[in-house]
């Protein structure tokens, strides 16, 4: 299941885990982001329980989006051990995202 991130759960889900966490920064008005949604749903099932897939609404949770300087969406950031490991832009296949997570 894809986890929806908020100010309240961001730290515990993304930063305080040993698992790789893939976060999509998205918005409801971003039509390409809608195309990524089914891919992320699939990915989340595939990588469970070794990795976490999450998304963050840049309008709702703009404080976090600003903190990471998000200026394009969809932006995908991979977190490992509480730090940014890598990031990419745009729509990608499940296989690409999976190997991006190192899984």
């Amino acid at each position: 299941m894809v986890i929806h991130l908020t100010k309240e759960n961001f730290k515990s889900i993304v930063l305080e885990t040993e698992k790789p966490v893939l976060v999509e920064f998205w918005a409801t008005w971003c039509s390409p982001c809608q195309r990524l949604a089914p891919i992320l749903d699939d990915l989340a099932k595939d990588v469970h329980p070794h990795g976490v897939v999450a998304k963050l609404d840049v309008d709702d949770q703009y404080e976090i989006a600003d903190e990471f300087g998000i200026m394009n969406i969809p932006t995908i950031i991979l977190f490992k051990d509480g730090k940014i490991e890598d990031s990419m832009l745009g729509i990608h296949s499940k296989d690409t995202l999976k190997s991006f997570m190192g899984l």
């Binding site: 039509s31 195309r35 891919i39 300087g69 200026m71 729509i91 990608h92």
Partner: protein, 289 residues
């Protein structure tokens, strides 16, 4: 409503049009130029059935004539955007807006490549290729847009709803039209900034910006991919074994799908994709009937 709009009149697009036409479907082909073969400098010597080397431009033109002779409708126009309207797509060209059930992207791979220092560094750090994706981040901010044609105007129209502080950079091209925004025609030399782009350096002056949108030339398939949310891998559109992209109803064939950049491959793609579009339309219309 069109059943199929094919974007690109090279070997993939035209072959698909010919096979579709013979299958009883009336495709509309939209092409702006002759693509990579139009200005291919040497002759072609490895394509089946020609005992003498052939000129690339001649081959492409003959392909177009062949399709026209079969009654295929070919429009000389530039596609600016493709919009997903739920149950159909809208293909917006320089001149008109065409509704269609399916789209075949056969645009080839020629792409305006921006070889300006700092371009790669700041892509995703203030430099964007897609106004509808990223314009929202620049509400009431100071932005630039690079371009000079209808594609730039299309992106500008969207961006002007987000901010009024826009400067147009034509990067050395002429633009004789008053669009209501300042126009800088000097060539851009470098993009500057630390974490993100903050300045544009031309051969004369430095301009401050919070963000920059690139809309040079005509949009390529990769820009359409941004607009529609198509999966792009290593610069190619990702398709399944039936030439479908991840958006149902959008197909792709030829160079833009990767593999060998050869006429024979593009022609084969065109033949194959015609079959799958035919099947798709038949299944779709069965469901709605």
């Amino acid at each position: 409503m069109n059943q199929v709009i094919i974007i690109g009149k090279g070997p993939a697009g035209i072959s698909a049009a010919i096979y579709l036409k013979r299958a009883g479907i009336d495709p509309t082909v939209i092409g702006k130029d002759l693509g990579a073969l139009g200005d291919y400098k040497s002759t072609i010597e490895n394509y089946y059935g020609f005992s003498q080397p052939i000129d690339g431009k001649k081959l492409i033109e003959d392909g177009i004539s062949q399709a026209i002779n079969l009654g295929v409708n070919i429009l000389d126009d530039t596609v600016i955007s493709i919009k997903d309207e739920g149950d159909h797509f809208l293909v917006n060209t320089k001149n008109e807006s065409l509704p269609t059930q399916t789209v075949l992207l056969a645009t080839g791979k020629t792409r305006e490549n921006l070889s300006i220092k700092g371009y790669r560094k700041f892509r995703g750090r203030g430099i964007s290729m897609c106004a509808t994706c990223d314009g929202y981040f620049y509400r009431r901010k100071k932005i630039g847009i690079v371009g000079c044609g209808p594609y730039m105007k299309h992106e500008l129209e969207y961006l002007s709803r987000m901010t009024k502080d826009i400067t147009i950079f034509t990067h050395g091209n002429t633009l004789d039209e008053d669009l209501g925004f300042p126009i800088i025609t000097e060539p851009i030399v470098e993009f500057l900034g630390n974490e993100k782009i903050t300045q544009i350096q031309t051969n004369k002056e430095t301009y401050e910006v919070d963000g920059l949108f690139i809309a040079l030339g005509a949009p390529s398939s990769l820009e359409f991919a941004n607009q529609l949310g198509l999966i792009v891998e290593k610069g190619n559109l990702l398709i399944n074994s039936e030439y479908q992209t991840n958006v149902l109803g959008i197909f792709a064939a030829g160079d833009i799908t990767g593999g060998k950049l050869q006429i024979a491959k593009a022609v084969y793609d065109g033949m194959e994709v015609a079959d799958y579009i035919y099947k798709y339309l038949k299944d779709k219309n069965k469901k709605t009937a």
